[in-house]
Symmetry: C2
Subunit: 221 residues, 2 copies
């Protein structure tokens, strides 16, 4: 199915908003504040082949699917991105995202650079807004990981390696923010989302407004 | 000269901000408010082959040039856009705009759809931000022209024809705003400019920040 032919139901088409950053750069806090600002914002629900853990709810926490079903979705082009992690598959199904954006709702994606790249090249690429958040310094990044107190030195070293891998792909995004001031970064994110909603490609229904102007013009001349 | 090879001097590269709309849609008021918001915003100074009128200052109101000089600029690709109006040439010289954006200053362009199209296809297209402002209705557009009280009925009819010609090219812009509430449109314009300044392509100096992160990372591992 080509999204160009789907009909948006609301005033505008929704965006696929990709937020990527190394862990410790402030992404979770920023995503939380964005969702307080606009309560219609939702994270995309991933599909996975791993077994549900206690308390996890199908279709809410994940779409729990078999490996066969997952492969079929991938082969049918129904996954915006996917990856194999520790023997299990994870991915973002296209259909619920398509439905959301057709109803004028934006969808948030918390994915790494590889997921971001796949979504940015997917069937919905026209509606993707990708943002990378850089830390002000490596020292500050490490400080935030250490302060969290969840990890031992070895794990922190591994996280820092992963962080650097993520940072090194900073230039594959539409927008890049250095998070040296949380309030400022939050304001900037809101400006970016507000702006991108006003792009021509996000407002297919403006055609109707222009048609109305045309009728009015022709009636009066 | 390829702008890719010019070195930005400030924290970011400036934008070429194109504001187009039919007359009466509120563009002048909005441009004025944008310049109060950011006093570094300047309109591009046009070059023209027409004679200076009393009080007009060269290089401030216009670059007054000969027809030969104008043609040479066009042939050398030194005009971002140009047009002939009532026997005189008008155009936007590239060099001063290039200098401004290299110093991190944005330049406003008040051009019609033909000028917008030329600038959007110029050597500086990578840094162009084009915005079209639609009126809420034709009735409102006419009301604003009549209320101004500058024109007779015949002139207003001609202006309305020109307005429709302009409106009919609404879909060649990056962003489209319906100006049904001036304060809201002003806020949206500010969000768009704030956002576009944060695009990867506008922040060439971020490379230095990432290099500093890399050095820091390597020193600590």
């Amino acid at each position: 199915m080509n999204e160009q032919h789907s009909v948006p139901q609301g005033d505008r088409r929704g965006l696929l908003i990709i937020l990527s950053s190394p862990s410790g750069a402030g992404k979770s806090t920023l995503a939380k504040r964005l969702r307080e600002w606009d309560t219609s914002l939702r994270f995309s629900v991933s599909a996975t082949t791993r077994k549900p853990r206690e308390g996890e709810v199908d279709k809410k926490d994940y779409y729990f699917v078999s490996e066969d079903a997952f492969r079929t979705l991938v082969n049918d082009g129904e996954m915006l991105e996917h990856a194999r992690v520790f023997g299990n598959y994870y991915g973002s199904p296209r259909a619920p995202v398509q439905s959301a954006i057709d109803h004028g709702r934006d969808v948030l994606f918390d994915v790494d650079w590889q997921g971001a790249q796949q979504i940015s090249n997917s069937a919905l690429k026209q509606h993707v807004l990708s943002i990378f958040i850089l830390p002000p310094s490596i020292t500050e990044l490490r400080r935030r990981l250490v302060t969290r107190g969840q990890d031992d030195a070895d794990t922190i070293a591994k996280r820092m390696e992963a962080s650097w891998d993520e940072i090194s792909h900073w230039d594959g995004y539409d927008y890049v923010l250095v998070n040296d001031d949380l309030a400022e970064t939050e304001a900037r994110l809101k400006s970016i989302i507000t702006a991108e909603r006003l792009r021509l490609s996000q407002q297919p229904n403006l055609v109707d407004h222009v048609r109305a102007l045309q009728s009015e013009f022709e009636e009066n001349t």
